[in-house]
């Protein structure tokens, strides 16, 4: 499912971004190898990949862009609830993708170890645009699990 900057225009503000961030639920070496083989077959160039590494950087040779495949997205738990809450969105004619839920998007942004001002602005924009749609109980629970509850409250209060 899409996470990060490409999911932002669905929930918050519109801004440019360089990377495409995708969360991929890969749990075994076999699944990882299948994924890497599929990527290579489609002319993508994965960098060093390991189940121990939360991130695989993939170069799209044709479009000359970088994809980031997150096996362990910061603050996001790959459980049934996360998957049930993801959203299906049409991004082009008959081209549908899965998007991370707005709540998990917020937690993921805040849980980044290199969280910066842009991430906090993204969160503020989602909180503003989705004000009446957010499931606050779920958001607070996930923020608490990820250890970002106070920073979330700080952004909500400012």
């Amino acid at each position: 499912m899409i996470i990060g900057g490409y999911a932002l225009p669905f929930y918050g503000r519109i801004r440019t971004t360089v990377d495409v961030d995708l969360a991929v639920a890969v749990k075994t070496e076999k699944e990882l190898n299948q994924l890497l083989n599929s990527l290579r077959a489609a002319d993508f160039e994965p960098t060093i990949a390991s189940l121990n590494n939360p991130l695989i950087v993939v170069l799209d040779r044709k479009e000359r862009i970088e994809l980031e495949l997150w096996l362990k997205p910061d603050g996001v738990v790959f459980d049934n609830e996360t998957l049930r809450r993801r959203q299906k969105a049409e991004i082009d004619a008959n081209f549908w993708v899965w998007l991370i839920s707005a709540e998990d998007f917020i937690v993921n942004k805040l849980a980044r170890p290199d969280r910066g001002a842009i991430d906090e602005q993204d969160v503020k924009s989602v909180l503003t645009r989705q004000e009446t749609k957010l499931d606050n109980e779920y958001l607070q629970r996930r923020a608490k699990q990820a250890g970002v509850l106070a920073i979330l409250q700080a952004i909500q209060a400012s």
Partner: protein, 136 residues
């Protein structure tokens, strides 16, 4: 209501048993303000009110107790006190305005993702052309 006010209330009510009036006296805040703050915190599930079985005449007294979420908030608040927000207040205000703009686009029948892709394409073309001119 600020983050600090929330933390101040939680710190106080976790140190001893407090009713609304006692809390207002301890914090030296106006009772009306304290009531309003507590209502918000109750809605946020940071605190809850516990009715005290009363033996005296008058309105039943309610004690304020900290919820597990309140304790977690306080713990994280104390942990993060040294790592404040990275964004400035005006950055966050700007982000909220940008979000309101995106909402208006949707209301007027636009598709934000399409606008995002166009914007991204323009930015990418600028980067590519500046890289090309540097090479030349």
């Amino acid at each position: 209501m600020s983050l600090d006010q929330r933390a101040q209330i939680l710190t106080t009510i976790t140190s001893a048993t407090y009713g609304v009036r006692d809390l207002a006296q301890t914090l030296k805040w106006k009772t009306a303000n304290v009531v309003s703050l507590l209502k918000k915190m109750n809605k946020e599930q940071l605190i809850k009110f516990q009715q005290v079985p009363h033996s005296e005449r008058g309105r039943p007294k309610k004690n304020i107790t900290c919820t597990p979420l309140g304790f977690a908030f306080l713990a994280t608040y104390n942990k993060l006190k040294m790592t404040p927000l990275k964004a400035r207040k005006q950055d966050l205000e700007r982000a909220a305005k940008d979000a309101a703009y995106a909402s208006r686009l949707v209301t007027n029948g636009h598709f934000p993702f399409q606008i995002f892709m166009e914007l991204n394409m323009i930015a990418r073309n600028i980067t590519v052309s500046s890289e090309t001119s540097e090479t030349v």
